[in-house]
Symmetry: C2
Subunit: 512 residues, 2 copies
């Protein structure tokens, strides 16, 4: 129970009280939808796909109905007028801001379309799954066209000039194509620069270790140990297995992640678990007094992704993480597997740069090229310059151009990602934003925290989790991404940190 005196909101204010009631209902429905989606990926019987789609559609429709009621609209209007008198707490203001944002976003979209979208998303995912299994884009084409058409309809209802900007904004408030173009142009240049240096290096890195199979039980044990050291709270979360790793923040006390233990290649399940645990720490770290409101989530997808990238790449692929510590644990759990390998070579293998057809298997450098090509494809789709039917061709051409690779089949090409199947356009760019934010946060953490590397070597990373909680997690969505990054690091988004980081790190690895 939260006592009134501890509350972050003005719970004695009748308007705020009523807004919280609305928020509680909507947040509960979102939490429940989150659980349904988690269940669909983990334990749901295969035969229940259609029923699950109906349930998700009903929840989406109800949530929309509650949010867009005239009562809510009038309440928000009245509260807005009052904000000018300046008597609200920072959290009241954020609550009004986010609730209004959700209201404005929804009120123009009819409930029927919301339900259709939810249904199409749920069945779209299943259709994609089947098409991917058979590696045939043609099996997915119609479902994708359907969901694309519904998203266009949604954009029409809302009335944007550039529909893609609307969906960028859904994931990263305030983000537009115009803002992204120069950021991604610079990122592309940086990436191509460093790739050239790496190609010029004569250092050969043996990556064979990454392909070895490891027994599931060992992977589970090792992942659990790493999560424990990161401060993941197993009393308020779970780690399960699913085909595609993901994280679901149902509530700060119920945050679930998965990794692909069934895919027994050695390091991938572990790094995925660390990645998803980074997301989970963000959710578990939100001030519980924000629970059941629209503020009880990450500030933006970019910020959320920065947390997963931070742990996966900046900590999980760093020397202090493995030295004298988790490498030894690995040796204990997989004694035969690591025979003849040395820590130093292992470190090189997990950081090797090599273009890969698959985004999620890509290194820290080429990963961003995967994102940039997806951004360009999405942008062109919504601008009408590209047709759904021509996606495979466009995809394969860009993979050739940016990565120098030939796509052998759709499964390893245009069908590799789940996002579009549920209408998640505009999501991909936040992955690269996450990389940029993460580098900046990493620099700030190293600056703020004494003996940073020595403490990580000790194997207990709770000190770091606490710093992140105080700087980022606890605020939830109280601040917008740009405010938050400035509060946490002293400046707005600055891609130079990422550039410095990769040049330093990979300069050492490849000797340039």
């Amino acid at each position: 129970m939260i006592h009134k005196t501890d509350a972050l909101f003005s719970v004695d204010h009748s308007g705020i009280e009523r807004l919280l009631e609305v928020d509680h209902r909507i947040a509960d429905l979102r939490a429940v939808s989150g659980l349904l989606e988690w269940d669909q990926e983990t334990y749901m019987p295969a035969g229940a796909v259609e029923a699950r789609g109906e349930q998700l559609a009903t929840l989406a429709g109800l949530s929309h109905h509650i949010l867009t009621s005239k009562k809510t609209g009038n309440l928000l209007d009245a509260l807005h007028k009052e904000t000018k008198r300046g008597e609200f707490t920072i959290h009241d203001q954020a609550l009004i801001r986010e609730s209004s944002r959700a209201y404005d976003r929804s009120v123009k979209v009819p409930r029927k379309l919301v339900e259709e979208l939810a249904k199409a998303a749920s069945t779209g995912v299943e259709c994609w799954r089947q098409a991917r299994k058979k590696s045939k884009f043609s099996l997915f084409k119609n479902a994708l066209a359907k969901i694309f058409e519904l998203k266009l309809k949604e954009a029409e209802c809302i009335g944007y000039n550039n529909p893609y900007d609307l969906f960028l904004d859904d994931h990263e408030p305030g983000l537009t194509t115009a803002k992204l173009n120069p950021i991604f142009a610079e990122l592309k240049e940086t990436t191509l620069q460093i790739l050239e240096r790496i190609r010029g290096s004569d250092r050969q890195i043996d990556q064979e270790i990454l392909q070895r199979e490891a027994h599931t039980e060992g992977l589970k044990e090792f992942s659990a140990k790493v999560l424990q050291a990161m401060g993941f709270d197993f009393n308020c979360g779970r780690l399960d297995s699913s085909t595609h790793p993901f994280s679901t923040g149902i509530h700060p006390t119920d945050t679930r992640i998965t990794t692909h233990f069934n895919q027994q290649f050695f390091t991938s399940p572990v790094f995925s678990a660390i990645h998803e645990a980074g997301h989970a720490l963000n959710e578990q770290g939100i001030d519980t007094r924000l629970q059941r409101t629209l503020l009880c989530r990450g500030a933006s997808h970019g910020i959320h992704e920065s947390q997963s990238r931070f742990w996966e790449n900046y900590i999980g692929r760093s020397a202090p993480f493995w030295q004298n510590n988790f490498y030894r644990t690995l040796l204990d759990i997989f004694p035969g597997l690591l025979e003849y390998w040395e820590e130093q070579n292992f470190m090189l293998a997990i950081n090797a740069v090599e273009p890969n057809l698959i985004r999620v298997n890509s290194d820290e450098i080429t990963y961003n090229l995967h994102i940039i090509l997806r951004f360009e494809i999405e942008r062109d789709l919504f601008a009408g310059r590209l047709k759904i039917a021509d996606l495979p061709e466009a995809w394969n051409a860009k993979i050739k151009e940016y990565l120098g690779l030939t796509v052998p089949d759709d499964a390893r090409g245009v069908l590799q990602d789940i996002h579009w199947s549920s209408g998640g356009f505009g999501y991909f760019p936040t992955y690269s934003l996450g990389n940029l934010y993460a580098a900046q946060i990493y620099a700030a953490a190293k600056h703020d925290l004494d003996n940073f590397e020595e403490r990580i070597k000790l194997g207990d990373m709770n000190f770091l989790r606490e710093w992140l909680r105080e700087s980022i997690h606890k605020h939830g969505k109280t601040y917008q991404a740009d405010e938050l990054i400035e509060m946490a690091t002293g400046e707005g988004l600055n891609p130079a940190h990422f550039k410095n980081y990769i040049f330093e790190k990979f300069g050492q690895i490849y000797g340039f």
Copy 2:
């Protein structure tokens, strides 16, 4: 997709169409609540208890809100008037009947109370769990008093003379204390009669085998084989482990059961799995065209329970089930465990009659005494003749009187059942009704199906599942329990079948 021409309902009738829309939403919300409850018992992190309570309360409140809207009331009124013209299908009529029943039941209860009840139920279960662990009724007393008070309030809102009748009716439409009194009086007499004969028998049955521990993997394998043979569809269902076995019918394509694999006593997890699978077959067997309506569930709790009892006791504890078949499978899976045991002795052990402090561990005879004592206690509580604080004393006295046993602690006494903790008063009597219905259905099945026992001996019981599906399952809640039992067996509830069955079966076992 269901095509209009196949529909059971008059989907071209605008009133029916609108009623179906309401029903779909309510059924989806119930399905989702079912999943949340299943999750709470299986995979939910412990820390999420409070959040889960809030979510369930929100869903209950929304469901109530939709059901009791003026629009729904007017729609039902109009449809009622039209039923007199007699143009509706049997399913339309049932839909109107069940929707009206739900409407009438809910409209007098304020949403706030509904939400309070849902919240109190969810936290009540957790409180009971803690109290049971520590075996202290005093730790549960206040939570139980709270939920009892809320249930009384609910009854007051609805305005029943005898509040207990209201809750009986919730589980078994039309059931009253007055109807139950003579049925249970006769059942008590029959039970005491047969117990006296058993006590007079000089046959000693060795039950040691039931207490042996068996490895979880073997229990899982064996249970899965039995479920397969029963016709349980694993593509539309799951079998998991939980402390207390239960079944959740989320949808005909998503029916989940659990058993207590962690409690490694040999036969108990297996019989619990068969019992819950009996429930699951009922859910999986409902005509899919009834999906997402209030007709998509068992006709009553008594009928539902008859299906679990049928499979657990009438099939699972019968000689044909084990002979030449599942006993051999047992020997294969647990070779050491069954050493020196013979099939005949095993059959006697699993059917031995011996008063047990725990209801769920009780035999087919004394089980009903457990139910009768719970019925008497509930009846007296609601009549004001018994107080919550005096429950342990009343419980222990009745256990002494009916079973001749001394209750050593609350965990093995008044705290053993989960039902009251979530406000499930009036539920217990349906267990014994299930026993009576099951005997009657068993007699009808044996009459209808040629070579009944020979076919069961073959180990594939799909023929039986098909008969049950045609006679009972597929109808869902289209017919009331008394109509359905007459359709399936040719007569209304007739307890003589149970009496005949137990005298014949246990006469053979105990030689009287």
